[in-house]
Symmetry: D2
Subunit: 348 residues, 4 copies
């Protein structure tokens, strides 16, 4: 199979498969039978590895996907009559078909604008202080996406400022870490520095986008919020009977910092693409490239031309905006071809 005809999938990092290290562990976990429902040897091991990695005695749970991870964590952080403050572009608001509302049995999301896809302390305060009557669902949680839906990252200072606002109004802080690994790399910061050290109460850490087939980890740094959480997962259809096939591949990512290397590669590829685009008149970057996503404004006919050539990518950020997401296995060869095709489309 030549690179010419390889899949031109840059729509999301979830078009990639499993990375070799994750697959190796999956195969290992299949050597022998083991206990079900997380009582196997792999699950305990993976949870401990997370605690080492975050240097914190957090509670760790594994669920199948991101919809469930975020929705279940949020439902544990508030009740149905509370509200969750998030950015207007937050994935939980725009792309979960009402998942957070379903799992929480009705909690409303209150959205705020903000440059570069980021919530601001002022935006949060505006929503909290807008009303205080009983007809307005009481804000209880702030949900941040790190890295954001537009490929930017919250700095430690920004996170601390949001934590201060959370403290002011007694709010809990949730982090949607669909691309948490890419944020760590982008900020050259440790997992601890970007979570409990800046007051994050719960993190949903995606393995799927980092090289797994399935399986997200939910980490509660605020352990009170994790009370009876295993029951919640069970009831909500998120307790895997053969849990070891989630946990063992996670060990593949956690051992030897594979998660970091996978994210670093993806971020580097995004940078490579962004640098290539910078040379192209007619293409302009829409947001700073700080993780593994590249948003570029292109003429509509160029977008059509690219799609006609089989490139898959999203265009949800307004007319003319194309999103390309790089992954642990994105190659410069693929990006060179993309850049070549974009240049051709712009020249046409």
């Amino acid at each position: 199979m030549t690179s010419e005809c390889s899949p031109r999938f840059l729509a999301s990092d979830n078009t990639s498969g499993m990375c070799p290290e994750a697959m190796e562990m999956l195969l290992k976990a299949n050597h022998e039978d083991d206990l079900a429902y997380g009582n196997d040897r792999w699950t305990a091991l993976a949870a401990d590895r997370f605690r080492e990695m975050f240097d914190y005695d957090c509670e760790v749970f594994f669920v199948f996907n991101g919809t469930a991870a975020n929705s279940l964590a949020l439902s544990a952080m508030g009740r149905s009559y509370h509200s969750v403050i998030c950015h207007e572009l937050a994935h939980i608001e725009t792309d979960e078909c009402g998942g957070p509302e379903f799992f929480s049995n009705g909690a409303k999301l209150l959205t705020s604008p903000g440059a570069n896809g980021k919530l601001t302390p002022e935006g949060i305060e505006a929503l909290v202080t807008k009303r205080s009557d009983i007809h307005y669902p009481k804000p209880k949680v702030i949900s941040l996406t790190q890295a954001t839906e537009v490929g930017t990252v919250y700095s430690r200072e920004e996170l601390l400022a949001i934590r201060a606002m959370a403290d002011k109004y007694d709010l809990r802080l949730h982090m949607d870490g669909a691309r948490f690994a890419n944020a760590c790399v982008g900020l050259n910061a440790s997992p601890a520095e970007l979570t409990w050290q800046v007051g994050i109460d719960a993190l949903c850490f995606s393995g799927t986008k980092n090289g797994l087939a399935f399986g997200e980890a939910i980490l509660f740094f605020n352990r009170d919020l994790a009370e009876d959480f295993a029951y919640r997962c069970k009831q909500a259809g998120q307790l895997a009977s053969k849990m070891r096939f989630i946990a063992a591949p996670w060990l593949g990512l956690l051992d030897n910092d594979v998660w970091w290397h996978n994210a670093a590669h993806a971020n580097a590829m995004a940078r490579y693409l962004a640098d290539g685009l910078a040379d192209l008149p007619g293409a302009s970057l829409m947001f700073p490239v700080e993780a593994n996503g590249v948003f570029v404004e292109l003429p509509l006919n160029a977008i059509e031309a690219l799609k006609a050539k089989g490139w898959t990518f999203y265009t949800f950020i307004g007319a003319g905006g194309a999103r390309f997401v790089c992954s642990w296995n994105t190659s410069t060869a693929l990006l060179d071809q993309l850049l070549h095709d974009i240049r051709a489309a712009l020249d046409a």
Copy 2:
């Protein structure tokens, strides 16, 4: 690794790993990137294979686990103020931590007794006609488990009689097929003969217990009930972004009737165990062995002795009842050792 120290796991068929054919397809699906959310080539293929296998143009959906499969199917078959009739030993009643009630937002399960773990037309009618006032949640669905929770199977005649009762009261018929493959083998019947041909509206077909790591299939023979079901799965956290890692292993089971062979092996092992137990004074079978589960009554001290030797099994069917479940990879060597240990325990 000697058979002496191999895992003595007979608690459930979910302690087994992936069968070789499923693993091979998983590895194949990992060769190349593919589209997300079921738009890949494997998912369509697997769905078509199900339609061939059932000889019916049914709607096919894949979800992560059995809790979700049954709960989502049931929530699509009724509304929150309806009730679901099931056997008092039904897994949805006893072992889902309120999952069906959660996904349906409150539907009650109405339970009925019945010999050998099976609902009867009379038992169903008694629940339907018990009351007709508005304070009693209106029965809308019958849920059968095939094979049952005690290792027996519903014959085609029994299924037809239940369907007749369903027709009499305008009820829908759901089949929890956690061990559907074992039932087909046990009855030497085709999937079609045990489902749409006897009026089943929806089947939850477990792959996990047949040799997968994850991934159950929901088949709607009554296609009206599947309207917008993909949205329901998405909202409820059951849409896999890398769906191909569920679909491709399913192909491993469906091609060459691997699913049948896996189930046939498991059933044969159960028969082997049952035959061995027949020779042991002090051990008595509690239910006919018609699929892959063996329920045996043992003295309490024998049960303790077996547990002390590291055998894992459930004892939920009343005091003194032990459940052993065989799987696609259960060996006669393991069962011989179990029989040896049971004999020793009984002799003690």
Copy 3:
């Protein structure tokens, strides 16, 4: 209108209308406009009156009916994956069409038998200790009905024994007080003696069955459980905009112990009926008459004859069991006529 043709309604105490004192206050509250959503003068007054009456600084909320009162209280006392222990005849189990499951988004009710409609400490313990795995919804709340669904009452000693069991397993104690007033009278005990003094966490006190048109009071003695409860009521459609029309009639009941006198009359009428039945061969009381309900076993043809004469009553307690409930306005004339008709039916 002669007593001959007056309504022969003894099916429930909810066939009676408003008592004069409640109506007077409703008319008074209508004299002048007032603020909405409970910010009126009557609501605060009624809440305070409850606190005096119970001699406790409890949290007080008003909702429209009993389904909502019990369901909302229970949903505040646990979460969706918890379970509620109740008697197998509990109204929340048998007559709410899945209401508690709906409001709690899936909490299961675990039922226990028990003589005279009463839960026992042993029955509770059996349900709590039955299993401790994650597939069984964790017991969190005990719900008692006082007076019970069969017209008996829990003594203070029985309540204390149940509280001790609740403490042993860290369970919360809910009291369905649909006929709480009748229980106080039946036991000649104060509201305090039957609630917080014996460790009740929350009480749903019915006004409807005591002489109101609508409007139940929820009292939280465990104030932590009432956190943000007003939001819960609002979201669940239980915040009356013209709240004063619930609160003011409640004042009619609370002032001058009208609630006690209403219940005392109803209880006395039940006693009168029970005494009359004692003289009738062929009629036998099914439960001790300790509040305002009388359950009597009658031949089926007698039951038919009574229904033919226009008497309304329930027969849900098994074949041949008739329930007659007396109210604040039940008359001896009506009961004499009922006794007359029963005697005639038995003689036939």
Copy 4:
């Protein structure tokens, strides 16, 4: 009590009490016991009266309040993964603390702007066609408020245009009729002309704002949507045991067109106030006055001055906007005093 010190409540039409005709019927319904749960003579009568009034054989249900009426109707018109299109100022979006999301178990509201508080066909189409993927909750219902939240009304032509759009995309049409009576009067149109004749599927008709203490009517013109709806009401805590105390007062409104006269008075008072404001420099109407609400922009210090004088009103429509709502019992004396005080505040 002089008019000087009478309540200065113009915040909402729910600060008024019961109108004499409704009270008279309530008293009448209290003369005698009657059957519970809507099996009384009044409930059937009131439902029939609605069918006459609308000249249509619709299904009629009574619930306690507006939150429940709208939320239950919407939950019957779609499922949890569907979405409801409404105006960004719609009461269901801004003032129900997540009620619609709670009752529907997660349906999202998609909001659209629109002049004078009104949805437009274009705005609806934009939301429907925005996306068609499974991550976006499928639009299923359009909810209109008639009269709107800013005191305007949809003309028959506007309603027909919205119905055409609904037909184009297979959407159902819900009308929040919190002030439906005022809209009929404002448009001088019959109930039929504004509902089923323009394709409304379900109407929530508020009695509370028209002179009742409690009790909204839900009318399904699309009878299919009402299937088993009584069970839904029961489960959701909206079945009144003493239903006659909702139904009978409704008869007070429906007989002799009291509902129309009440609304006509309220509208006339709003017109009176608006005319008075027209003469005041510094006060400017924000929306056409087409029903019983008057929105006026005032200097902030004038608003403060009015509040200091004890006037109650809402200011939720942006800074400087005051809402005054007239009711069936609003007097010109009260409005004269208000105008006097506004003039004084503006002069200051």
